[in-house]
């Protein structure tokens, strides 16, 4: 099936098998390997991407289901060559070790802060509870997301994309 959708603002047209998941499509057809696959059954959250503004598990979506949609991945978080504020906060607070869960964490946090830039620690933990990390014990991640809130609060009506 031929599908058309936008990825990180770029229009993409591609021919896919119906059974290809969005996660595998991004990784192996579009070469966007930043999105990771950790379980393929919707529990670990490593594959989280943003589709039409909402954080979703890319392993539970078929590529054909995003025909006409807007998809955002971790590759779109950076500001050109520089890391975005959320990514910088992750680095500062040592919110990653092996880095495998990190893209999913970033996209979940990005979606959350876009909608709820004032989310408190309990809400942050509640939301990232859907993303498993085996290395860090989560404290650095929570601190990083908390610090990044400032950047997401609307200033002059502008917020990070």
């Amino acid at each position: 099936m031929r599908i058309t959708f936008s990825v990180n603002g770029q229009r993409t047209e591609i021919e896919v098998e119906s059974r290809l998941t969005l996660a595998d499509c991004l990784r192996h057809r579009l070469g966007l390997t930043g999105t990771h696959v950790g379980c393929e059954h919707g529990v670990c959250g490593a594959c989280t991407v943003i589709v039409d503004g909402k954080a979703v598990r890319a392993c539970l979506l078929l590529a054909v289901q995003v025909d006409g949609a807007e998809v955002r991945t971790v590759e779109g978080l950076a500001e050109g060559e520089a890391l975005g504020p959320l990514q910088r906060a992750f680095r500062k607070h040592h919110a990653l070790q092996c880095g495998f869960c990190t893209p999913g964490m970033l996209m979940t946090a990005h979606a959350l802060l876009q909608d709820e830039p004032d989310a408190d620690e309990a809400r942050i933990r509640e939301v990232i509870a859907g993303n498993l990390c085996r290395c860090t014990g989560y404290l650095g991640i929570v601190r990083a997301v908390s610090e990044a809130r400032e950047a997401y609060r609307k200033r002059d009506g502008e917020a990070p994309r």
Binding site: H41, F90, L96, F100, L132, R134, T136
Partner: protein, 769 residues
């Protein structure tokens, strides 16, 4: 290192983060060379049986399938995976063939390999293979295994792979004459390390040059290369093992598994690159499990609380085969039951028993988590029975500075022993009590408040690290003035690149920006590398870098002496490592060595380091639902020398959370037919961000290790070791009025509820009697 360190000891932000945060990490599944084919594996769905037949015709006929390989295709002798650590004949009897040949012995055992144009087609074809297996009864309990009623290896007439015994002093005499003795039986469940990235391999055979390149290996890449070369009948130089970014190891990734042979074999057979990525369902079945130990342990004390002996026996449910590093946990159980305490007499016998389950091997803190649980529980019980405060009893028995070095028990049949290196274990103990506020919280212990019981638990540990025998590094001074670092240690997400850059920069006296890169693990990087396991990378790799730095300076000075025509003693190397001079003559290093200069370094070490510490926990238990909440958890550790406080802190935190998962949430569950019931992440529960929000860890460096130039001690595993004992003691403390005593992990809600109910029923019966 003579001058004050600019980087070692500082919370330097990690170099690795830049690419990992941008989504530009390179994990093995991110690699896609031209002509790539994909492999999938047929795994046994029967736990124990004889293979009658396998029909692969339908699988071969699936469009897009390139090969279907079974044991029959591998020739008369199906390769078997030898022991990596401290091999012996007893254990070697039970090593694993790369494909099941006559019998299957666990659900998940590889039966066949399919290679196809896509992973999906390979999996489709796997589903088309017909296997006929005559099922045999499955052995799922160590008691049944020991009885030998049903044998996994009929030819060896036993399921008992080996027994190890650790001993020190005369524990039988000590127990016979002790004022107080108590014996209990403990069970620690099977768990899975569960890194977030499953295993994966990419094998690329170059037919023209007859070279094999394998990506996705780590931890012990040189060992993997040596074994793979042997199994493929290639010279070692023809095999290159490349380490990519890795999504966690924790001990289970990197050892040689059947796929480490099968995938390269397939690549050579088809003369195409072949990639295999384990899926999570497979991972739960096919990657090593850990623990699964039952232990009977006795503690003997004097009336004043001095512990005079520990005597016990443990049975390890080892799974269907003996894996390359399977002996590590049992050996540690045999040796480490006394932990950080001054216990002159001990003996622990550990039996490794085969069962029809996934093979078991090492996971973070192997054997130490298990022994800590048993010992710390017994210490609390002894304190209670003797009427001595459990904090006080521990303080009296903890090893101090005056005891160092303290000999460790000798383990037979290996004869390995060792001794603790440095430290005063009361210091971290007292600091933990202070940070936790034990004295203030103590009044809450056992109290029922708003329907939940409050409890406190405490536990102490030592962590053995920096395992020898050696590690290697190489520094390459480039013409542009930058320095590249090569080290045999393996990266598993622990921030190795950053640590090595810090150490190298300080050793050379240059800013970190001049370190152009840190290359690790892969066999092309150093001549010989021993890898990352047993918390050795910082000490071994770091010390090798220090040696290499000294050798690099020496090489530069010697080259200058040659060019200046003077003696090396007359040459001065500038502090910023940019110029050399002898008298009035000066040259820049770039002029001196236009092609750069390299030097190697090695650190040889046969003495392990022992970091140590104390943990304390405040929990609540709901007696009606069995719900266990960890309100606060505090850990204090002394690691000898802190290289990067930020990475250390998060390593410890991560390890503690893994330990909490082991204590409360995680459980690998089999039914009595050897079927894995916890077959997805929906049933194997792991800690999430909401479960343990209040964990604090503090690191000290009051007692450097005398064993290495850094003074550092391996510290990646300490965080997990005492957690089981601490939590179980906290639950006992909470439910003291109900006289509940936990002896088994995990402490799940149904288990706690059952303990409460049992205790209440017993109390009622006694009241009625």
């Amino acid at each position: 290192m003579k001058r004050a360190a600019a980087y070692v000891g500082r919370p330097v932000e990690r170099l690795e983060d830049l690419r990992l945060l941008a989504g530009r990490g390179q994990y093995v599944d991110d690699l896609a060379p031209a002509g790539l084919l994909h492999a999938a594996i047929l795994r046994s769905s029967v736990a124990h049986g004889r293979i009658r037949s396998m029909d692969t015709r339908a699988a071969r006929a699936v469009p897009g399938v390139y090969a279907v390989i079974t044991a029959a295709d591998l020739g008369e002798h199906v390769p078997r995976i030898p022991l990596r650590m401290e091999g012996n004949a007893a254990l070697s009897r039970f090593v694993q063939p790369v494909l099941a040949q006559v019998k299957v012995r666990y659900v998940g055992e590889p039966l066949a390999l399919v290679v196809a144009s896509t992973a999906a087609i390979a999996e489709d074809a796997v589903g088309e293979i017909q296997v006929d297996i005559d099922a045999l009864p499955a052995v799922t309990e160590h008691t049944v295994s020991a009885s030998g009623e049903v044998l996994l290896f009929e030819e060896h007439e036993t399921n008992h792979a080996m027994a190890l015994t650790g001993a020190r002093g005369d524990v039988d005499a000590a127990i016979a004459s002790a004022d107080y003795v108590r014996r209990e039986r403990f069970r620690i469940q099977r768990v899975a390390a569960m890194p977030m990235e499953t295993r994966g391999l990419l094998a690329e055979w170059d037919a023209q040059r007859e070279r094999m390149k394998l990506s996705g290996a780590m931890k012990v890449p040189f060992s993997t290369r040596a074994l793979l070369a042997r199994l493929l009948e290639l010279p070692e130089e023809a095999v290159e093992v490349v380490e990519c970014d890795v999504g966690g190891g924790f001990g289970v990734r990197g050892e040689f598994y059947p796929e480490d042979f099968l995938i390269p074999y397939a690549s050579r057979l088809l003369n195409r690159p072949v990639k295999w990525i384990e899926d999570r369902r497979e991972h739960l079945l096919a990657t090593n499990h850990a623990r699964g130990v039952e232990c009977e342990l006795e503690i003997a004390c004097r009336r004043d609380g001095t512990i005079v002996g520990l005597r016990g026996e443990a049975w390890s449910d080892s799974g269907a085969y003996i894996r390359p590093n399977a002996v590590t946990a049992p050996r540690n159980i045999a040796q480490m039951v006394a932990g950080p305490y001054r216990i002159a007499n001990m003996r622990m016998k550990v039996s490794m028993l085969l069962t029809n389950k996934t093979p078991v091997a090492s996971y973070r803190g192997p054997g130490r988590f298990e022994t800590d649980f048993c010992r710390e529980r017994l210490i609390d019980l002894a304190a209670q029975d003797l009427g001595i405060d459990r904090v006080e009893l521990r303080r009296r028995n903890l090893l101090t500075d005056a005891d160092m070095p303290y000999p460790l028990p000798t383990v037979l049949p290996y004869g390995s022993s060792g001794e603790t290196d440095s430290g005063d274990y009361r210091v971290t103990f007292d600091r933990c009590l202070e940070e936790f506020g034990w004295a203030e919280k103590a009044r809450l212990a056992g109290k029922l408040v708003n329907g939940v019981y409050h409890g406190l638990g405490i536990g102490c540990y030592i962590e053995g690290g920096a395992t020898g025998p050696r590690e290697n590094a190489r520094l390459l001074f480039e013409p542009d003035g930058s320095i590249a670092v090569y080290v045999g240690s393996s990266a598993i997400g622990q921030g190795l690149e950053t640590i090595c850059a810090q150490i190298a920069a300080d050793a050379l006296g240059v800013p970190m920006e001049r370190i152009s890169g840190v290359y690790h693990g892969s066999t092309g990087v150093v001549r010989e590398g021993l890898g990352s396991w047993g918390s050795r990378a910082t000490v071994m790799g770091g010390s090798a870098i220090i040696d290499a730095a000294a050798n690099l300076k020496k090489a530069i000075v010697e080259k200058a002496a040659e060019q200046f025509g003077c003696t090396p003693a007359e040459v001065a190397l500038s502090e910023d490592m940019r110029t050399v001079s002898a008298g009035a003559r000066t040259r820049t290093l770039t002029e001196l060595c236009p092609e750069g200069v390299a030097a190697e370094g090695t650190f040889n070490n046969s003495k392990r380091t022992y970091s140590y510490g104390t943990h304390a926990a405040h929990v609540t238990v709901d007696p009606e639902t069995g719900d266990l909440r960890v309100l606060e958890y505090v850990a204090v550790e002394d690691v000898g020398r802190i290289i990067n406080p930020m990475t250390l802190h998060n390593q410890t935190l991560g390890a503690i959370v893994q330990g909490l998962g082991s204590s409360i949430l995680e459980n690998v569950v089999y039914d009595d037919e050897g079927q894995l019931l916890s077959g997805s992440l929906a049933s194997y529960l792991m800690p999430s961000a909401e479960d343990f929000p209040n964990v604090k860890t503090i690191a000290l460096e009051l007692f450097p290790s005398p064993t290495n130039p850094l003074g550092a001690k391996g510290a990646g595993e300490g965080g997990i070791i005492p957690v089981g004992g601490v939590i179980a003691n906290a639950v006992a403390s909470a439910l003291a009025t109900l006289t509940v005593q936990p002896f088994e992990l995990p402490l799940t809600p149904p288990r706690i509820w059952s303990l409460v109910r049992h205790a209440r029923a017993t109390a009622e019966k006694q009241a009625g009697a």
